[in-house]
């Protein structure tokens, strides 16, 4: 099997690359910048074929898909840090919408056509009152990122109906790992817990402690992507654990993993929150993925947090001067 992963240098891209390589795939990928910029790819770099591809050019996508004889195309490339979208809403929207449509169009035109996965996001449900959210829930995005990800979902649906292409969208709820960049709240907390336990820092400032999120492990979520492309019929799937935890619980778990009481170290700073565009609760119902794809997350909440704290401990304890 041959697959192309856009954004292969990101958290999800690197986990997906590992999964596909383990499965004996020939893996190609695109990155922004150079492959060397992405530490997570270090152990895989020699086994990935990196391609230069303008993702907003449908003809180029079709040409690459044909040249590589792709069976599968995973479109993950996007800026997923929500606050960044308020800094450049036009540029990021433009890149995201044009790439989504071009990948759909290029993948469709390739002969034979490649099966496609597109990453949508639970941010499309930021303004939704009902809980949990499922595939049939009406999207109410509150940010440019959410609006662009609703665009992706709708574009996949329209291409599937129009051309019968095998294109699926994953409505991915928050998924984390030690490879999350440190400006995301999960990693910010696990890194701080590790740093404080090592005596490198003494406190952590957090915004809204009451936000509730459905946090899963990225390594589990990329399995769902692959299962979607293996299913006979393409469809859209919520990928989530179904369990919600508050930011407060995350802090409690992270500090607990290093034997500390979070209340001694976390300070609340309202200005760090996302304000009115921060969804109070994003909780997914993964029933469709479970029933039709047989997908189940394997890493639970405390296990995920502890894995991230341990990774941060290792990272922070590493002293390059030591033999």
């Amino acid at each position: 099997m041959r697959a192309l992963v856009t954004g292969i240098g990101g958290q999800d891209g690197s986990y997906l690359a590992e999964l596909l390589l383990e499965g004996g795939y020939d893996v190609a990928g695109t990155v922004l910048g150079a492959p060397e910029d992405y530490p997570a790819l270090e152990p895989l770099r020699d086994r990935i074929r990196f391609v230069e591809l303008d993702l907003t050019d449908a003809d180029a996508v079709a040409a690459v898909a044909a040249e590589l004889e792709l069976d599968e195309l995973y479109h993950l490339a996007a800026v997923s840090f929500v606050p960044a979208w308020w800094e450049d809403p036009v540029g990021l929207t433009r890149a995201t919408t044009a790439a989504t449509v071009s990948v759909l169009e290029g993948g469709r035109r390739a002969r034979p056509p490649a099966r496609q996965f597109h990453a949508s996001s639970s941010e499309i449900f930021a303004g939704v009152d009902e809980e949990p959210q499922r595939e049939t829930t009406r999207p109410v995005p509150l940010t440019p990122y959410g609006a662009a990800k609703a665009f992706s979902l709708h574009a996949v649906q329209s291409y599937r109906r129009q051309y019968g292409v095998h294109a699926s969208a994953g409505i991915l709820f928050n998924h984390e790992s030690p490879r999350r960049p440190p400006h995301f709240v999960t990693r910010k907390i696990t890194r701080a817990a590790a740093a404080i336990s090592l005596g490198l820092e003494d406190h952590l400032e957090l915004g809204n402690l009451d936000s509730r999120r459905d946090w899963g492990f990225a390594g589990d979520y990329v399995r769902a992507m692959q299962l979607m492309l293996r299913a006979d019929e393409a469809d859209d799937y919520v990928v989530a654990t179904g369990e919600a935890h508050t930011v407060r619980e995350l802090a409690e778990s992270a500090f607990g993993a290093v034997g500390l009481d979070w209340r001694d170290h976390v300070r609340h700073d309202e200005s760090l929150g996302r304000g009115p565009t921060d969804a109070p609760a994003l909780v997914g119902d993964p029933a469709r993925a479970r029933e039709r794809l047989g997908w189940r997350p394997q890493v639970g909440f405390d296990e995920l947090v502890s894995m991230m704290v341990q990774a941060d401990l290792t990272l922070l304890s590493y002293d390059p001067a030591r033999p």
């Binding site: 308020w86 609703a150 129009q162």
Partner: protein, 327 residues
């Protein structure tokens, strides 16, 4: 004197809205593209009374310049690549213009003057394969074309900017609205034009696709009143604008031929080539919120709409035949 800026002023809705605003003593500015291929036919009768400003939804700097130059209190974003089949041939351009263009204009409004009231022209195409009948402001979107996908994005980003920046930004979800100024590529106008040609002996048949899809068709002149009204409210909100009645294309055909004293059975040919892919089914709008909060009511009935379109095309073609200019 209030000032309003209309993008897409050369389109059907833009021309009716410009007329309405002029009646209300607005100073009206229309944004048009440089090196434009658009025709000014629909606003020919208004050229002395509206000012045109050059700007392009693809070019953020031009949007800032137009807003600074015209200093509007109200902006109506009606420009779009609105023909659904074209959106399948040009999906990337459709997204650039119809989706990203809205973000560009909202950004420009926010920067130049956040007090500007902003109207976004949304469309019933966003409902696509409808999840419930009739559709209201809370019905989920399930767009079936790149045009519908881009319009859904435009709606979401308008709501985003309202909630995040406290802009007076509203989205009007307009169901099909027609008039003698509808482009000939749209089925209603194709029918009225075709009937007029047959009546005048210029053609003998009219080729159409599937006649069964039902649409909620209103009169564009009525719909622009709803747009204006949305921007006069105390609080910004989104509204469905529709008649609430769905009619099959066949009924439009029957009424149009009857108006001309003709029998459609003698002239209509169903042509497979015109069958539109992914046909949207059973779109019918529930405009009760607009009725209750805006006091809006459509004034032109379905029959009146068909008849005024046929009459206008007969008159236009008869005039050009008389002056020797082929229509």
């Amino acid at each position: 004197m209030k000032r309003a800026l209309i993008t897409g002023i050369t389109g059907q809705d833009g021309s009716y809205l410009a007329e309405l605003l002029l009646e209300k003593d607005y100073e009206v500015f229309g944004m048009v593209r440089r090196a434009s291929t658009e025709t000014f036919e629909r606003i020919e009768h208004l050229v002395d009374r509206v000012s045109l400003a050059q700007g392009d939804l693809l070019d953020p700097a031009s949007l800032l310049a137009v807003l600074e130059e015209t200093q509007p209190q109200e902006v109506y974003n009606l420009a779009a690549q609105s023909f659904v089949p074209t959106s399948w041939n040009q999906p990337v351009l459709t997204a650039e213009y119809t989706a990203v263009g809205v973000t560009r204009l909202l950004e420009a409004v926010r920067r130049v003057d956040p007090q500007i009231r902003f109207y976004q022209a949304s469309s019933s195409e966003m409902f696509g394969k409808v999840r419930e009948v009739p559709q209201n402001e809370l019905t989920p979107f399930y767009p079936r074309s790149p045009y519908g996908v881009a319009k859904a994005y435009g709606h979401f980003i308008t709501v985003n900017y309202r909630e995040s920046y406290d802009l007076f930004a509203v989205s009007g979800i307009l169901f099909n609205h027609e008039s003698p100024r509808r482009g000939l590529e749209f089925v209603t106008r194709k029918i009225s034009d075709g009937v007029a040609r047959i009546k005048l002996g210029l053609e003998s048949e009219l080729r159409l696709g599937d006649l069964e899809p039902r649409r909620d068709w209103g009169y564009a002149g009525d719909y622009v009143r709803a747009m204006w009204s949305m921007l006069q409210q105390d609080e910004p909100s989104d509204y469905v604008v529709a008649t609430g009645e769905a009619h099959p294309i066949r009924e439009f055909v029957d009424l149009a031929f009857a108006r001309a004293g003709l029998d459609p059975g003698d002239h209509v040919r169903v042509d497979e080539r015109f069958l539109r892919p992914a046909e949207v089914d059973h779109l019918v709008g529930d405009a009760s919120k607009a009725r209750a909060e805006l006091g809006w009511e459509p004034e032109v009935t379905f029959r009146e709409l068909v008849e005024l379109m046929v009459d206008a095309d007969v008159e236009r073609l008869a005039r050009s035949a008389a002056t020797g200019i082929a229509g």
